[in-house]
């Protein structure tokens, strides 16, 4: 990984009240990415959304009964690439098994990962013994 222009590392309790904070960080960061030639306002919304969805997902999959459980979110920005990593300690899930939404018969759930996959350039989920990591890349 090239040296970071900006790196943000946040650890939050597994509570949804912190989603606003995480999303807002993404929104502010989008405004600092000078090299981005696209629509900066749209990027701000998309980073807010992707961070909100990824963090909410990690909170949902966390061990509910462990009040000490946390989610760690790392945002790493280089000149041409933004990488988000969301670490959780839950049971994990199979990213490939998450179906694309059926647009003719929409369901209430399952749109979060669809947003992440649609708005970003690469998404991987790796399960490891010491925790799981959802890695999201957006080329700038």
């Amino acid at each position: 990984m090239s040296p970071a222009i900006i790196q943000v590392d946040v650890i939050i309790p597994t509570q949804t009240r912190y989603l606003d904070l995480i999303g807002s960080i993404g929104e502010h960061i989008a405004k600092e990415v000078d090299s981005y030639a696209g629509d900066r306002e749209a990027l701000a919304y998309h980073l807010n959304l992707v961070l909100t969805e990824a963090t909410a997902n990690a909170i949902k999959h966390a061990h509910d009964k462990e009040a000490k459980d946390t989610v760690r979110i790392c945002i790493h920005i280089e000149e041409k690439q933004l990488t988000i990593k969301v670490y959780d300690h839950g049971q994990g899930f199979d990213l490939e098994a998450v179906a694309k939404p059926d647009f003719d018969h929409p369901k209430e759930n399952g749109m979060g990962l669809f947003f992440i996959k649609t708005l970003m350039d690469s998404v991987t989920y790796t399960q490891q013994a010491d925790g799981n990591v959802l890695e999201i890349i957006k080329y700038l």
Partner: protein
């Protein structure tokens, strides 16, 4: 979830008084919408003018209300959606599922 509920022109008008709908407050929105659907058969109009951010759980809460209204032969309409929020309906094609109006008066006119 902060909101204002009014009865106007034989419609239940729910004005969302939040800038953000996400997994922290969407369950409350879903509960409120389901209660409104249960309570009466007037059309429900959800005003989203103040909302500048919605996530998948917020869309899911609105979709839940919409589906339940259909089951009860009722209606759930959305009005005053800001463009960035509307984009989320477009990406998920939910703009084809919901009845969406630019203003509340357009929504009233469509009911008469």
């Amino acid at each position: 979830m902060n909101f204002k509920l009014e009865k106007l022109n034989d419609c239940q008008v729910l004005t969302i008084q939040e800038e953000r709908i996400d997994a922290h407050n969407s369950a409350a929105l879903k509960t409120e919408l389901l209660q409104l659907v249960e309570q009466g058969d007037e059309p429900i109009i959800v005003q989203l003018e103040q909302v500048r951010f919605i996530d998948s759980s917020g869309l899911g809460a609105l979709l839940s209300g919409h589906k339940q209204a259909l089951v009860k032969s009722g209606k759930l309409l959305l009005v005053n959606i800001q463009q960035p929020v509307l984009s989320m309906f477009e990406i998920t094609r939910l703009n084809r599922v919901f009845e969406i109006y630019g203003t509340i008066n357009e929504a009233f006119a469509a009911q008469s």
